[in-house]
Symmetry: C2
Subunit: 139 residues, 2 copies
């Protein structure tokens, strides 16, 4: 049975995802973080502040899912909230501690990412990233 290029692509794509995400989870566990918590922290760090609605959209999950993670991060003292453009909306930012743990976990995750992609040029990595963004827009 011969598979077409896109079929092979998605098989290799999903084959890569689980072990990668598991390794990432192991690294994060050392910092006392879960994957959803990390994903949230990283988005906030990279954009300085986000609302729960934005976080839900970016991570492709429903708002109650984000609500729970935000609650956990508040309890951990890693984020704080401020009022958004009206009294419904909340802006979420990292605390000093949140920034510290972001920096630390970032280094460890980047190390993994570097090791996994070692030997592949930046040009090729960028090209693939572009294609991923393109495909994402079709979903």
């Amino acid at each position: 049975m011969e598979l077409k290029a896109h079929q092979v692509f998605f098989r290799r794509f999903t084959d890569l995802y689980r072990p990668f995400i598991q390794k990432t989870a192991d690294i994060l566990a050392e910092e006392g973080l879960t994957l959803p918590q990390w994903s949230t922290i990283r988005l906030i760090a990279e954009q300085e502040e986000m609302t729960p609605a934005e976080l839900a959209s970016k991570q492709y999950v429903e708002k109650p899912t984000v609500s729970r993670t935000v609650q956990q991060l508040l309890e951990l003292g890693l984020i704080e909230t401020r009022q958004g453009r009206d009294r419904r909306e909340k802006k979420i930012l990292l605390t000093d501690e949140g920034n510290q743990i972001y920096e630390k976990a970032s280094r460890a995750i980047e190390k993994l990412e570097r090791e996994v992609s070692d030997g592949i040029s930046e040009q090729e990595m960028d090209a693939m990233s572009g294609r991923f963004a393109e495909m994402r827009r079709r979903l």
Copy 2:
């Protein structure tokens, strides 16, 4: 904050995964299948028969996880088991009904995969698949 090529890569990679897998889950739900069930059926179909241990290894999960999915598929009548190389081992194959549902779901999933990767050459798809396999070996 400037991100390196591999950092962008893994962000776009994980950004693509969830919506893709969710769309796939929606398609499979129409056939009454879950993602783990589909993953299992597809691996068996593409290799004619597999053992639970092989399924666990290929899908990067623990054996009890596969055991449960196999049980579900047996109850659905989509697979059957035969004795393996000894009395511990089980070979798992698709039944006629399993093959039918495999063919049907396959077509729908392939359609999604084609649409998502439309406009990207087979050469480029193959190149990316190769890199995924390479990265997988480093995890």
